[in-house]
């Protein structure tokens, strides 16, 4: 085992440890959310995850983006099989370890498919980059897409392009070295990187080795760096799309949750056997607030959703309020939730005083009151995220904790309370239509 293997092992272990530590932090942040029961209907949940996350069924509703995304996704998953080989080679100092026990033809097939996929990923990323930055598709330039979200998206694409270029260049150098150096075993078929060979052909043996080794290191270090970058990026959806679709709301979209805390109080109020004048003898447990003011008032699925959002903006581009120029953007609701939980947990960990809240400091009531609850956002989300439930929970807080609804909405409430209709008509007139 040489020095380079020891360096590799150290880098590999530290990258994985860092990843696990930060992933664990995110999971703990998600656990700060209130409880919600999503342990029911497990076979439906598996099915939903397979169909929506693995099968990308909702991505293809926009065919161009959908198909290109599937290419990148398939490429990502399959090219990463190659990473297993790279890791084993890195630790044990072997070269193309898989070729030592796979049949020649199968190994050739594997490497050839990796190359073709890598090339397709490359093309798709270039296309996506152009779509974002040259065509400037509107949803990538909306208000909440400030400089960091835009940079984040571009970094990911550039990163993937560089990784694929390194992978293909490595293969090109390798295939030349196979006939020149005993370390480079003859293995693999290189349908794409062949095209790079003419540019490397005249180089000396040592330059070729340098290029091959550089690309090899760049590829694996890049992947390890990327793995850690994902945790501070919208790109986290590559992992969290799976739990998000598993724990998704499987009810008809129109159905909203009935707050249990309210149900308890209402049933007490409406129970004819309750004596209103008696003081409760049992200690009343502190009731959690109705609705959500801050991230810890949301449930853990909503927080998981916030971390899973990849800011594609399909929700916002379909939102009727946003489309007609209102402040509301469902994507911003999720981004704000994520940013706030990140800030909240950081301050908590560092012992910094924190007087901010999601409602007010991030999301304004003007945004919340613009929602028509039409479910265009939840329907269009490629991974079944639910920004509408967050909007509703914050409205609940505004109304039930702060009585801060718009005047006309308060009038509507009063009308329902007094005459059982949202308008000011006497309840006794409810059947008048019959005789008109």
């Amino acid at each position: 085992m040489g020095l380079s293997n020891i360096i590799f092992i150290l880098v590999f272990i530290s990258a994985i440890s860092l990843f696990l530590r930060n992933l664990n932090r995110i999971i703990n942040n998600i656990k700060l959310g209130r409880d919600i029961n999503r342990s029911d209907r497990s076979s439906d949940r598996w099915r939903n995850m397979f169909r929506v996350a693995l099968g990308q069924s909702k991505m293809t509703r926009r065919p161009i983006a959908g198909i290109l995304h599937i290419v990148i996704y398939a490429g990502f998953v399959i090219v990463n099989v190659e990473v297993i080989e790279i890791i084993v080679d890195g630790i044990f100092g072997t070269h193309r370890f898989l070729s030592s026990f796979l049949s020649d033809s199968f190994y050739n097939f594997l490497i050839a498919s990796f190359e073709i996929l890598a090339f397709l990923v490359l093309i798709a990323c270039v296309f996506f980059y152009a779509r974002r930055n040259l065509v400037k598709i509107k949803r990538f330039w909306d208000k909440e897409m400030t400089s960091w979200p835009r940079t984040d998206a571009n970094l990911i694409l550039i990163f993937e392009i560089l990784l694929m270029v390194a992978f293909l260049t490595m293969n090109a150098a390798d295939s030349l070295l196979q006939s020149k150096h005993s370390y480079y075993v003859t293995a693999g078929s290189f349908p794409i990187s062949q095209a790079i060979i003419p540019y490397l052909d005249g180089l000396t043996l040592s330059s070729l080795i340098l290029i091959e080794r550089f690309c090899w290191w760049f590829h694996i270090l890049g992947i390890l760096a990327f793995l850690n970058y994902v945790l501070i990026s919208k790109h986290l959806h590559i992992f969290f799309a799976f739990p998000s679709t598993y724990y998704a709301n499987l009810n008809p979209l129109g159905k909203l949750s009935n707050l249990e805390s309210v149900a308890k109080e209402v049933s007490l109020m409406m129970d004819p056997n309750t004596d209103p004048y008696v003081t409760p003898t049992t200690v009343v447990e502190p009731v959690e607030s109705f609705g959500a003011k801050d991230v810890t008032d949301l449930n853990w699925v909503q927080l998981l959703n916030a971390y899973s959002c990849t800011e594609c903006g399909r929700c916002t581009s379909n939102c009727p309020a946003n489309y007609t120029g209102k402040l509301l953007s469902p994507r911003k609701i999720l981004m704000d939730t994520r940013d706030r939980i990140t800030e909240f947990s950081y301050n908590k960990r560092k012992g910094i005083k924190d007087s901010k809240t999601l409602l007010g400091d991030y999301i304004t009531s003007e945004e919340l009151w613009a929602c028509t609850s039409c479910n265009a956002c939840t329907d269009s989300c490629p991974i079944d995220l639910d920004p509408l439930s967050i909007i509703l929970d914050m409205r609940r807080y505004l109304v039930m904790e702060e009585s801060a609804a718009p005047t006309e909405i308060n009038m509507m409430f009063t009308n329902i309370e007094n005459n059982g209709a949202p308008w000011q008509f006497p309840a006794a007139d409810r059947l008048k239509w019959k005789d008109e």
Binding site: L253, N258, T324, T372, N375, A376, V399, I409, F413, I416
Partner: protein, 258 residues
């Protein structure tokens, strides 16, 4: 039977009669001038098909949909429990309503509060009446250009896209679809409590945007299946003031052609 026949559950109970289905009229259907016409049209259909139904009349109260979606869960649950108590007392098993909001709330949100009913939107119910031969629709509207606006709480909310379209086609019409239709349908702007308030600052009203899209197809009729959508689109037509399209509920179109 040409007479307009409506009985309340209280009257029917006094006579010792039970009903097959309760017609949930809803607040809009009871009080809104435009929506009342839809209510009456649907009663005509029920009468025509000899459906044994009742209404709650003054015992009906807001379903609580608007309160709930505007964040007042207390008020919603109070309304729900009150309505459930009344309906359970009458031993109601089946409900039909012309309002997708009441439909959604009663169907999806009442069960966990103790209200378990088989709930139909009126388009589902009419399709059923035709299927069992209780109602015959005449294909009198052939030649008319009709587009259908999907109400959110019927379409995306409860995945009902085909039933209203089947009815329009039964009238002899090939629907001209808006670009944003079915699951991609664009809200009329009334849901979530918006019906009762001014909208937030923006560049356009949602109902105007939607009405323009519909009018772009130069239809004779914009059909819908929701009293709120009806109001929004009707207001939209007045504001846009282009062409001669009119907004009708599917119940109205059917009632005229049975």
């Amino acid at each position: 039977m040409s007479e307009f026949q409506v009985n309340t559950m209280a009257e029917l109970m006094a006579e010792g009669k039970e009903v097959d289905v309760l017609f949930w009229v809803g607040s809009a259907g009871s009080f809104d001038e435009r929506a009342k016409k839809i209510t009456r049209a649907f009663v005509k259909i029920l009468n025509k098909a000899n459906v044994n139904f009742g209404v709650l009349g003054t015992e009906e109260s807001s379903s609580g949909d608007a309160a709930k979606r505007a964040g007042n869960e207390f008020l919603f649950q109070m309304q729900a429990l009150m309505n459930i108590e009344v309906m359970n007392a009458y031993n109601i098993k089946k409900i039909v309503t012309t309002c997708p909001h009441a439909y959604n709330t009663i169907k999806n949100e009442y069960p966990s509060l103790g209200g378990n009913y088989t709930t139909y939107h009126h388009t589902e119910f009419i399709v059923e009446l035709i299927k069992v031969g209780k109602l015959e629709v005449k294909a009198n509207l052939s030649g008319k250009k009709i587009t259908f606006h999907d109400p959110c709480y019927l379409g995306r909310g409860n995945n009902i896209y085909d039933k209203p379209r089947q009815l329009i086609e039964a009238l002899g019409v090939k629907i001209i679809e808006m670009k944003r239709s079915k699951r991609k349908s664009f809200c009329c702007g009334a849901g979530g409590g918006q019906m009762f308030k001014e909208s937030e600052k923006g560049i356009e009203e949602i109902n105007i945007n939607r009405t323009k899209e519909a009018l772009g197809l130069k239809p004779d009729i914009i059909a819908t299946g929701c009293p709120f959508c009806n109001t929004m689109m009707t207001d939209g037509i007045i504001a846009v003031n282009e062409g001669a399209a009119e907004v009708f509920d599917i119940a109205e179109l059917i009632a005229e052609n049975v």
